[in-house]
Amino acid sequence: MVNLIWAFMAIIGIVYAMFNGTMDEVNKAIFESANEAVTLSIGLISVLVFWLGIMKIAEEAGILRGLAKIFRPIVVKLFPEIPKEHPAIGYILSNITANMFGLGNAATPMGIKAMEQMKQLSGTDTASRSMITFLAINTSSLTLIPTTVIAIRMQYDSLSPTEIVGTTILATIIGTMSAIIIDRIFYYQSIRRK
């Protein structure tokens, strides 16, 4: 899908330029924007290094684990099919807290582990209710601090690169809550049909 969108943006652009005499601009844009993208990626290093460094300390100091403890009762409620002391709950919690701190690389393996555990519980190749709830929470991405976006804003000389943190958190919370609600609605519809 992304391959199609990507290729067609370039193809449509070039074809449009053929008929509208903007080939000159297109030519310039190709090389200037490639250059810009490289400069940007290198500029991102500063913020990413600093933030991932801080997050490593947070991880080792047990802050992520502490947060997991706070969220445990909520997660147990959200996944009524999973027994309270089942290891799946632990993996779900680590996945959610890692996501909150923007540690995507740490979150994905935890998420896969959680899925494995939930698959053992259901024992089929059909997605279980808990799996879909877990996906819904993951796709709405609970982020506390959108590091990469802040870094990009800094690169483009924003007067206040972090001013979007508040709006992002608010939008994320609304997104995650609606994901949970939408998930419930579809679940109850699916059992009524049976």
Partner: protein, 176 residues
């Protein structure tokens, strides 16, 4: 609404202070851990590079040829009626499909309209507030061999839509 922009200003320094305090309290080697984690940051920036080059160049071709403006001109009356800025449409479309690609679109929007413009702030908020449904679905279900995904895709995409609408409403209220 002033409260929200104040929270934005304070949250990062306060969080750093908290991490360092707890780290020192728990006697973990803070500086060494910082360096260790930082190395991953270097890797991450370089692995983003090809994604950004590919996407930003494709959008630049699309925009500089005039095709983007032509399409925006066509659909903007409908979108403006609902209070949606048409410039944001490419980001809303690509966001559920690929995170790195969406980052490229966000970057291009910030670069073209400026980070402190309405579009820049909206793109920033949208980038941070939803994740890539199709990617997560593929990776998680693929990894454990789930074949029938039932209503999972519908839930993910609907939630994305709500999050995008929420981002537009919130950014309009806070910065509008």
């Amino acid at each position: 609404m002033i409260f929200i922009s104040q929270v934005s200003l304070w949250i990062i320094p306060l969080f750093i202070m908290l991490v360092l305090l707890v780290g020192t309290w728990k006697k973990v080697p803070s500086y060494e851990l910082f360096v260790e984690g930082g190395k991953e940051g270097v890797k991450m920036a370089f692995s983003l590079l090809p994604f950004l080059v590919g996407m930003i160049v494709a959008i630049s071709i699309f925009r500089s040829s005039g095709a983007l403006d032509a399409i925006i001109g066509l659909i903007s009356p409908v979108l403006l009626f609902f209070g949606v800025p048409p410039e944001i449409v490419p980001l809303a479309l690509i966001k559920p499909i690929s995170g790195s690609a969406a980052l490229g679109v966000t970057t291009e929007l910030i670069s073209t309209h400026g980070p402190d413009s309405f579009i820049g702030r909206l793109a920033s908020t949208m980038q941070g507030s939803t994740d890539t449904t199709l990617y997560i679905l593929t990776v998680y279900f693929g990894a454990v061999g789930i074949r029938k995904m039932r209503y999972a895709l519908k839930v993910g995409l609907l939630a994305d839509l709500v999050a995008i609408i929420a981002a537009i409403v919130i950014v309009t209220l806070v910065f509008g």
